[in-house]
Amino acid sequence: MTLKILRTKILPHTVLIVFSVFFLFPFVWLLFTSLKTSNEIFALPPRILPEAFHWENYKAALETVPFPRYMWNTLVICVICIIGQLFAAPLVAYSISRIPWVGSKIIFAIVLATMILPSQVQMIPQYIIFTKLGWVNTILPLTIGAFFGAPFYIFLLRQFLLGVPKELSEAAKIDGASEFRIYTQIILPTLKPALATVALFTFVGSYTDFMGPLIYLNDAAKWTITVGLQGFQQDHGAQWEQLMAASTIMAIPMILLYFFGQKYFMQSGSAFTGFK
């Protein structure tokens, strides 16, 4: 009996707790470093706990670098990209899963293929196009793509649509509703949970994107939070307490989003199993 409890309860929990420590400890280290003085940071031997909590590091970090501005720039890009994806991705997903036409299979195959196409192949000509359009150093190159629908979201919504019963729209069709009406009044509302996932991932994608802003935004006033934080690293590399404070500030929106939208994050796992 005791052996069984050991095997089914104590052992699994022990293993899980040990691993949890490994996963959580860097967060503790991040937070505690951000609250230390620079003398404490470079003390030997290093200590984990700060002597006192120096919350003023956060104020200093916000003053050294215009983080509120970077945050605002980032949010603008995020919101525009969400609007774009929510407009385009469900339209395309509807076309390839609900409308009986020759293109549906072809487009689905290409959408899947483009998912593994490395972005580097298109990156340089895209940059040249945007240069010629005079769009470099604006947010247009970072947002326009969203209005054409990203392959992953099209795929995700298609999978979801396959699970929505066809009868739902057939009945409306018999009543003489147009395809567009069916799309906006029947399909879109049932897609809501999947659209929330798309919005969430788009936000995370734009918020964490580093290479895009690095390539396209030269003007420091237009930087996003990722490029801004890297600039901070470049210029104030030794001020670890401020760097860690800034990193914490950057991570907090993602952590909050994760706690409130956990359901949607977890769905992503099952979405991928649909690939086989």
């Binding site: 899980l16 395309v92 009986p100 192949v121 000509p125 990722t226 990193s247 950057m250």
Partner: protein, 316 residues
């Protein structure tokens, strides 16, 4: 994939009925955002980068035709070989390690114990941290003198390498940081694990198979399609490593290089970025991009071909 109604309608018939035309235009209309985007931002750049790869182009002067010169130059470029070696290290060492760790975590998260949801939350948490922030955190964690990792290693009497300052340890640093984020891959495995029919395990238990046997004879074959998927994505991802390397290397060095100590973090995509956007050698970088494309296609095709030997699809 299941047959859709569309194919049944159009097969073996001479002309299209009005209904078919109606759906054709409708389908086209609904798909038009993607079609336009695909043509403008994928097809056109795809072929024009092939053209640029045959030119010398610095953005300011018109492109000059140089034929295969860029490709020839790449074949004798030390930095190219350095970047290939570094990238292959990540592909062959880091990708299998992170796949294994994702799988182990997924198996742990599949334990039937109370409070498993809390563990799930904890294990996935690092994966939601923006790479720039987590790479900065790990730069500090891996600080040779004041970092947490070496503090721990010294405490248990292990050697304390200089991590990001030592070219031999920069890539292991990257792997370590990757392990911290393996909750993301674990979630995909977990979803697949939960789809494995429980009867298989029960039947095997009746036959007297132990846990180890059940893992290799049931779990691995059942997960093989997902392992293949994650392997392909992981290998392709290795050729696109950029942000974590850029941050761990500390950004641009004084000499204007972004490859870290002794170019040990100069990965394929890092080299490509440097040639294109720092050296403004757009033609040369386009040739690098096309070589990347061919490598990625080759990896995918080889894996898909060999996969028939080790991937099992249910119900076949």
């Amino acid at each position: 994939m299941k047959d859709s109604a569309s194919m049944k309608l159009s097969v073996k018939r001479k002309g299209w009925t009005r209904r078919e035309w109606h759906y054709f235009w409708l389908g086209l209309l609904f798909a038009s955002p993607w079609i336009i985007g695909f043509l403008v931002f994928t097809v056109y750049p795809f072929f024009s980068s092939l053209y640029f790869s045959l030119t010398a182009y610095d953005l300011f002067n018109p492109p000059q035709w140089v034929g295969l010169d860029n490709y020839k130059q790449i074949m004798t470029d030390e930095r190219f070989y350095k970047s290939i070696n570094n990238t292959l290290f990540m592909a062959f060492i880091s990708v299998p390690i992170s796949l294994a760790s994702s799988l182990i975590i997924a198996i742990m998260l599949n334990f039937k114990v109370k409070g498993i949801n809390y563990y799930r939350t904890i294990f996935y948490l690092p994966a939601v941290i923006p790479i720039v922030a987590s790479a900065l955190l790990w730069t500090w964690m891996l600080n040779p003198d004041f970092g947490l990792i070496n503090m721990f290693l010294r405490a248990v009497g292990l050697p304390d390498p200089a991590w990001l300052m030592d070219p031999r340890y920069t890539k292991p640093s990257l792997i370590l940081m990757g392990l911290w984020g393996s909750g993301a891959g674990a979630l995909i495995f977990l979803a697949a694990l939960q789809g494995v029919p429980q009867q298989y395990y029960e039947a095997a238990q009746v036959d007297g198979a132990n846990g180890w046997h059940r893992f290799w004879k049931i779990t691995i074959p059942a997960l093989s399609p997902i392992i293949l998927f994650q392997l392909i994505m992981g290998l392709i991802g290795a050729f696109q490593i950029f942000t974590e390397s850029y941050i761990l290397a500390g950004g641009k060095s004084v000499s204007g290089s972004i490859g870290g100590p002794d170019q040990s973090l100069l990965f394929y995509a890092v080299n490509l970025y440097q040639e294109a956007f720092m050296n403004l050698k757009m033609g040369y970088a386009s040739a690098l991009a096309w070589i990347l494309f061919i490598i990625v296609m080759a990896i995918t095709l080889v894996l898909l071909k060999t996969s028939r030997r080790w991937v099992y699809y249910g119900g076949e």
